[in-house]
Symmetry: C2
Subunit: 191 residues, 2 copies
């Protein structure tokens, strides 16, 4: 471990946002999950929540490559379980969902504790979870195809969340609790 590497690790941990999260509802293509987790890392997220598709999921760890190491992945047995846990932590739930009640993704506030819910490649966010979400958000589209790729959509939303949090000065001082900071510092420094 070079001093530069250690400094970089500390710098990244100092900007991590424990209260901005992504939850995927049975997103099933490994490449989509990898791209999502890579964007989570790039935009300062420390945690991602996953409900695996019913068919199960094996290929993920391999294809996620590097980023898997830098974002803690929490697996939930059901969406209900994930939603209950995140609501208990005081999170607003923003479902990326192409519905009638959806608002422009730039109009919601990402500086509050919040979780962005991304839907399955075919079915979107399931109706029960969609009902429980505080807001539905949508990226305006003007083409023939009905939706964006799920990882593209997630990256666009996270980039806006990062913009808002930067404006609000939320990257300027460490926001991660000491205990988690120390645990991650230890993990990330392992060869």
């Amino acid at each position: 471990m070079t001093p530069e590497r250690l400094a970089r690790i500390k710098q990244v941990l100092n900007t991590r946002q424990p209260d901005l999260r992504v939850l995927t509802d049975q997103v099933h293509k490994p490449r989509n999950l990898s791209a999502i987790i890579r964007s989570c890392d790039a935009f300062g997220l420390a945690n991602m929540h996953v409900v695996w598709p019913k068919e199960g999921f094996r290929a993920f760890r391999k294809t996620a490559g590097g980023s898997f190491h830098w974002v803690t992945t929490h697996t939930h047995p059901t969406m209900d379980n994930a939603v209950t846990e995140l609501k208990a932590q005081g999170h607003k739930l923003y479902a990326a969902q192409l519905s009638d009640r959806a608002v422009d993704f730039r109009e919601v506030d990402y500086t509050v504790p919040c979780t962005i819910i991304m839907g399955n490649e075919v079915d979107g966010v399931n109706p029960v979870t969609a009902e429980q979400a505080d807001e539905h958000i949508v990226i305006p589209m003007m083409g023939m195809v009905e939706s964006l790729n799920v990882s593209s959509a997630c990256s666009i939303i996270l980039s806006e969340a990062q913009r808002q949090r930067k404006l609000a000065g939320m990257f300027d001082q460490r926001r991660m609790p000491d205990e988690e900071y120390n645990r991650l510092l230890f993990c990330w420094c392992q060869p």
Copy 2:
């Protein structure tokens, strides 16, 4: 062809932006190219320019699925050829490139005729083309991984371009020349 379908096709053609383009420099994963072309469609682009990787490229048409139909793909033998053609059309060239001269992607003007150049998954935009670009643009990152997935990066940039063009009223009246409008209307109405 239902009247609703025809109305939708016309509406999409009416918002197409002939002078906003994407050029990929040997992007080689079919799934990345598909996600890029899907975002081009969603954000109102009518044209994409491609320099295939040296190994050649066969899988693309198949995996791009729907979107391939809605965005005209121009193939160039070399990046030099593509750059010359786009410069001759008066385009600013914005290379998405992680370099010292890169500026925040939100700082450049996407309302002028312009082309966004996306680099290869491993090597980025080649040095000669990077040198020829008017600007290098970068999406700010604060994680451990060195870059975003190329299709995520492209989607984020196009979403900003769309935002700027919407603000400027560029989606409010048809911008595509009659001849191309009529040609595409005919093509898109084929079963």
